[in-house]
Amino acid sequence: MSDAIVDIREKALSALEQLKDSDSLTDWHSLYLGRRGAVGKLFGTIGALPPEERAAFGQRVNALQKELGAAFEEREALIQSQLLARDLEEGEIDISLPAYPRRRGGLHPSTRTHREFQMIWADMGFQVYQSRDVEEDEFNFTLLNLPPHHPARDMQDTFYTKDPRVLLRTHTSPGQIRAMRELGAGGTKPIRVILPGMCYRQEQVTARSEIQFTQVEGLAIGRNIRMSDLKGTIAEFAKRMYSPNAKVRYRASYFPFTEPSMEVDVECFLCGGKGCRVCKYTGWLEIAGSGMVHPDVLRNGGYDPSVWSGFAFGMGPERITMLKHGIEDIRYFWGNDLRFLQQF
């Protein structure tokens, strides 16, 4: 019977050397070292041996089991390393193949700019106040110091509704009156708000002008709000929105609802002020219309203009978005072509 141990050992070891993959390794393992494998069967024969031989036989089978086990592990390690080497060598993929599609979504570019605005203004203590789109003529014009037949009404082409008292707001400014009346507690509380929203003008739709567009209006009312605060606040905004080194220019201007009024230009961030197509070779980009709230408007909002003062400004997110992304056609914004939206 001791020959059987030798036989098995030789057969097993020579078979092991032929093995090339993990499947045959598994087969080999169950054939020799499994519960019903050859070595196991040898243990089963121990009972049939005379008692004096049992110990010696058992020791030899044990030794065989250990030897085969070690040989198996060695072979297994070898095959694993061969397989790994082959995989590293041959398993190259064509990384230029297109990626598997992932579902991706995106915010509208106008929303993105509005968020940027809102974050910057929130940092400066301005909260969002939402006002209505369909407005009374009185709020859109008259209470903002634009009585009927005021020349400045010509600056804006208005969509009127069939009721001549009602129109689509041409700017976010009527929200100033609503915010003052709602938040000002009868002209006794300071206010700092921004008023984002859609505005409407009866214009020819072209690459440069649209019948609807968004604005962000800002309003600060207090007992001691100064024109220097307006300059400082807008300069701070420009630094955060455009560049920490943004140069700002202030020009006298005219809006019926502010006085003094001013336009704010920022040095063109595309050409650094040298002059390019986008800034029409002027080196400046118009970013805001602004001014000190007109006494009439303060009064219409419930404040005593001899005690309270304030500033207001208005900005056009679409224009800024166009500048930042090189969008040359404003009609892209409400065209909702996915090929456009997917670029943000």
Binding site: L97, P101, R103, G105, G106, H108, T111, Q118, G125, Q127, V128, Y129, Q130, D133, E136, H149, P151, A152, D154, Y160, K162, R165, L168, K189, P190, R192, M198, Q202, E203, V205, I211, Q212, A220, G222, R223, R226, M227, S228, D229, G232, T233, Y250, R251, A252, S253, E259, P260, G273, G275, Y281, T282, M292, P295, D296, S306, W334, N336, D337, L338, L341
Partner: protein, 850 residues
Amino acid sequence: MLVPISWLKEYVDIDVPVELLAERLTVAGLEVAHLKYIGLPQQTVAGVRMPSSDHLVWDREKLLLARIVEVKAHPNADRLVLAMVDYGGEELEQCVTGATNLFSYKDRGPINPPIWSAFAMEGSEVWDGQSDKPKRMTLKGKELRGIFNRSMVCSEKELGISDEHEGVIVMEHEAHYVAGTSLADVLGDVVLDIEFTPNLARCLSMIGVAREVAAVLGVEMRYPSFDFTAKGAPIEGQVYIDIREPELNPRFTLTLLRDTEVKTSPFWLQHRLKLIGQRPRNNIVDVTNYLTFELGQPLHAFDYDKLVERAGGVPTIITRLPHPGEQLETLDDVTRDLGAETILVADTAGALSLGGVIGGGETEISEATRNVLLEAAAWNNISIRKTIREQRAHTEASARFSRGVHPSQAILGCQRGIELMRQLGGGAIADGALDAYPLPPASVTVDVPIERVNRLLGMEVTIDQAADALRRLEFEVAIEGDVIRATAPDHRLDISANPVIGQHDLLEEIARIIGYDQIPETIMADEMPPQRENTAVLIEERIRDILVGAGLYEVINYRFTSRESEALLVPSGAASSLPAAGYVEIANPAASERDVLRHTLMINMLENAVNNARFQSTQQVFEIGKVYLGAGDLLPEEPMRLGILLTGPRIPSWWDGDGSTGEMDFFDMKGVVESLLHSLHISDFALESGTHCSLHPGRSANLLAADERIGSFGEIHPEVAARFKLTDAKVMYGEIAVEPLIRQHQRLHTIEALPITPAVLEDIALVVNESTPASEVEAVIRQAGGRILKDALLFDVYTGDPIPPGKKSLAYSLTYQDERRTLTDKNAAKIRKKIIGAARHRLDAELRSQ
């Protein structure tokens, strides 16, 4: 408005480069949009950014002022002549030219007085007059039909002054002209194109701009003479004025010039008018235009004799409102029906002109006119605005009167105008001016304490600085202690008599003249209002983020639509489930298909889908925006809606896929809606069978949150899909009210602790009636499973053999777990038995045999 610097310099000395002046004016509120250079070089000024100009710069040595002393015939050509030119050189220069305006001098000997013109020497650069496109050329000597020629007399086009190339420049003699002077010193110019905001009505003239220049530069203003030399009989008794509506016509002035000659204006006048884009006509009409632009006071000239003829004697000029049905044929050959509020200039025979807007044809100046009656009046700007709108009559006069011309200017214009006419056409001015001035505006004086100036500007201005700024603008200023008392000059209508508003008016003027750049930049030191977040905005933004995370793109559409478009959403014969509210109707829509504000986001989103389908099969988009619901009040309600649209393959096909990812259907939409609700932690929601008319009744649902119906979603109705030609792929649409989402979202929610005991998983398949909704089966399973059943996930729905007809098999993967103890197989079997029992009992379900 075009403002030639040469013209401005008549009233104010400008010793800074025009580029710097343009920047200073722009910053002071007179926006210089463009500089047009004529012959002069562009200058670079530190700190001033200007687009570079590619105009022709005149060579100071080679482009010269010259006299044409004689014109001779060309021996070989009828259409060419030889101009003998004195350009200040030793000898006369002979120029071959085809200038037709020299032909009349041909072979008539020396011209007396000589013609002044522009001379270009050999080697100088000019524009090619023959070329249609701008093309430069350098003069070189060559033979022209046998005569050697090396220089030329120039047209305006060749010099870049205008497009005129009919003949060479012909100027009358001026005392200071010297042959050989650089042309740049005579005709070189820069024309500022200035854009005026409505408050700058006082600036719509050369003098108006010059005043601002004088104030900004701190130099003196030099006004022209407004006197006239009268040698004729007094005007009184030769014409009368009758103002019937002083509110609309507060002032009316007249002067009269007899025995004058209507003819072509001299070069200087024509040149100035052409520089500002006006076409010269004759000396009388040109003077009225000139004063409109010089002083900002429009004038109107009548043929006096025609007025006498109409009146059958001494004419009376009446300003009045029209009679019913009255008409007037104006200078532009339009016969106009006159509205009841149109102020007219008339005589006893009828209407003569639309006051302050446009003259009538009958009494206009003609070549035969000998006697000119000149009108300068003041008109109510709102009345003029109404007339412009009603008559669509936009003229230089109406542009000024509609913005406001101070009545003080009328007499100045009337006197200066008649004197210029006399100088140009000869004749005698009737002595005196008729001046009817029933309603002079009150003079405005405003007191402003310097402390208020400094407090509102946020800077330290001394009272003297502030007073100086106002004086520069011709305010009369007195300093009384700490208060500035300023009286507005009589050309300004924009300073309010209201004390607080008047102070702001002055504040702006002080800041403008001192310079906005001098105001410091400060951070608000005022009391801070309470900082509260805007929940509606926060949740709206959260919804956007959730949907973007789910792979959707945000769209933003026009809020305009039409009734007809929205009617497309209602299948034939169906009752509409769109809002029953009234529409906000636009009185002046941009297009007929955009004449109301939308009631739903659906139309625009379906249109988006149609447009995008040309390029992309898979579309997943959403919009958050208002709809406008008329409620009978003056203003509509403007609730916010969320629209979601899904269509196309679930996953676009790709190179390694098997191409069968399936098309998006109801359940994709349901997944988007549910994940939105989960993310907002709104757990109290349910679905019921869809009832929205635009959705497929069998493949849509209404969404209820806290028992409130807040929207619907599902596959769009096949009839609606067909109307939009959206038939290639099923289109899912949902619309949900945003306000309930904001109201019901849970800011705080508790989480479940992670169990430490193991879970037991098993699958069961139940055979139920085909009509039993899956939600009902799940509800029974969950109820029977109780606390221990953690999840019941439907993983297969099957009908067909061996399942009997009318039945379906629903297979669930069940998860049992008890946080308090480890479940044994026996525990699990017990729950399973309970679930099967409940299903059998309540749903008539059978366990599907394996």
